[in-house]
Symmetry: C2
Subunit: 401 residues, 2 copies
Amino acid sequence: MAMAEKIKGKAVVGQSGGPTMVINQSLVGVVEEARKHPEITGILGARHGVRGIVEGNFLDFGTINQATLDAVAVTPSSALGSSRDKPDAEYCKRIFDNFKKNDVRYFFYIGGNDSADTARIVNDLAKDNKYDLHAFHVPKTIDNDLRVTDHCPGYGSAAKFVASAFMGDDQDNRALPGVKINVVMGRHAGFLTAASVLARTRAGEGPHLIYVPEVDFIEDKFLADVDAIMKKGGRCMIAVSEGVHDAQGNAITAKVASSSERDAHGNIQLSGTGALGDYLSGIIKAKLGVKRVRADTFGYLQRSFAGIYSKVDAAEARMVGRKAVEYSTQGISGCSVVMTRTGNGPKYGVEYSHTDIKNVARETKSLPREFINAEGNNILDSYKDYVLPLVDTLPTIGYLF
Amino acid sequence: MAMAEKIKGKAVVGQSGGPTMVINQSLVGVVEEARKHPEITGILGARHGVRGIVEGNFLDFGTINQATLDAVAVTPSSALGSSRDKPDAEYCKRIFDNFKKNDVRYFFYIGGNDSADTARIVNDLAKDNKYDLHAFHVPKTIDNDLRVTDHCPGYGSAAKFVASAFMGDDQDNRALPGVKINVVMGRHAGFLTAASVLARTRAGEGPHLIYVPEVDFIEDKFLADVDAIMKKGGRCMIAVSEGVHDAQGNAITAKVASSSERDAHGNIQLSGTGALGDYLSGIIKAKLGVKRVRADTFGYLQRSFAGIYSKVDAAEARMVGRKAVEYSTQGISGCSVVMTRTGNGPKYGVEYSHTDIKNVARETKSLPREFINAEGNNILDSYKDYVLPLVDTLPTIGYLF
């Protein structure tokens, strides 16, 4: 991080990558805090992330009143529009050129590790050109895979959705027994799939099996796992990360989906298709002879459902936006906002700080092995201690039996 | 309906068919009301519907306290377990024999039109055998396709889920434009898919196209519809009933799913697979050349999600359970509980009554044509007047543009 003199100029704020239930909280946090600082002479919202910057497609937040901000804050998805563009050096040069042209001195980019990398490159370009710019990364991702920070804004709300879905669906599976597979988002990190463990409100209930990308997914082992659970209790509720892969690292979805679409980051499309769930259903029916097998893929609902969010997550998402502005106006740049957990359970709380953006950019974090059972097919109850404070409240489940 | 003398004996209550968010409200309504009537000497819960009756698998509600009932009432899915069995004459005879053996004089069966038919046959058997039995059908279905009643308990909560999902997902589609297809439950009736219209909170927003089973689904027309919307606004949000079929009446899913599983009613499996959405995605990519096309299938979440329900729906579901007991203890049998809307909008309310079960059994109701646009690819805003009071509240959406 570089310390610099306070300097007057405009701020640009943008949203990037997959939306979340609370990414607009961070946006509103940036705007509200920026309005308090006279050195920020105007706030421009980049429409569709970096693409809006290079195309000069901005929303002037000077035209947006507080009532609209309040409504946008509780609306899921990225109100400015998002982008999947992965800027290379030349693209970042165009971003920087636009900033210079428009006298932009503050840049707040809300996103995951790729967005952090973009902010890092632009910040470095400014330094090389001796142009005073305060570029800040504002963390968000339902994947919860950013480094340094204890957890990521967006994760708690998505985890709440996943847990609530499993809580209800496990009752559905009890009522009409069989095998039920639910595919949860998560390409490389199993945090979101692991949150399904919150639905296991008493011993013996589902999810009975949980598969995350941190462990190789071996089909024969999977079938043996399902068979054992079915023989024991006559029903089986399964959580599977969309990113599960074989021992060679090949995503199962890539093997079974008809589409082989790749995004700008070279990643094969995993979401927005039911192929993985249908494939796993098929092999269970064919090889285990189970009659009732169903698969659902939670898809975009888990990141953009209207009306479900964690209040804790929403408040933290707002605060990381505010903190990015606060730190920037203190002369800090080239950093990402960090949350450190100061207590857990009823004493849950976080402290905010910042870290050099290079500690967050590009690389990701995996679900620690200590939360996965030895066999690699379940999540331990100890994970609940980590995730429960982040989801705020959960529904309760009543049982007659 | 037959009027009979009050008679002392046990009550059996069961739940059937697909679970809903509020079917346990009806169960608790039956139990709470039954406890008030001295002529009901005991309350037995049939585990897994009619199957529990013929197998003598009962829960004695005498062992269940009020705190458990309160917890179960707000829990989604069928707490007694459900069944997909479709009893024939011989099966109904076994139900009746069990009732005689156990001195069962009251039978409350919570379910859809098939369950109504089961209650009807058992009621007729009792009459033929001059055995005093008060069989009552308690309506529930997220499909909203029961006759006579204005709407069905379970529908409002599922409609709330579908509307909330579309509200959020339409924001997701605005942020990352492309074609998004969401497949909604509904084999023959489009009521639930039609509820997606509630998400269109201002002109031009999604869903832009809504396909229900009441209109033939013609692929070329579908592709032309999507193409036109994409050319106009660069994005397209689509709602499709899982039951859409071609001009010959063949379900599209049946043509494209690898599974051809049929249930006891001879219906092909439509839910618990992403096949229809993936197929429609595929033809849009292939024939329209749209790059970003995604499909999600809401699946079991829309009937069993924990924590989302309409308070209006929950209260009505509780009341239809109560009313069935109340009418039965007045000597009425062989009926189904009916709701009649007494006012709409802010004056929304219902009156409860009953109708001969044969008016509800077997047959279903379709979404009235007046709510579908002339072209057959959308739902008119007038449908909002019908469905909005049933979903209680909805999230609000804020826009920056």
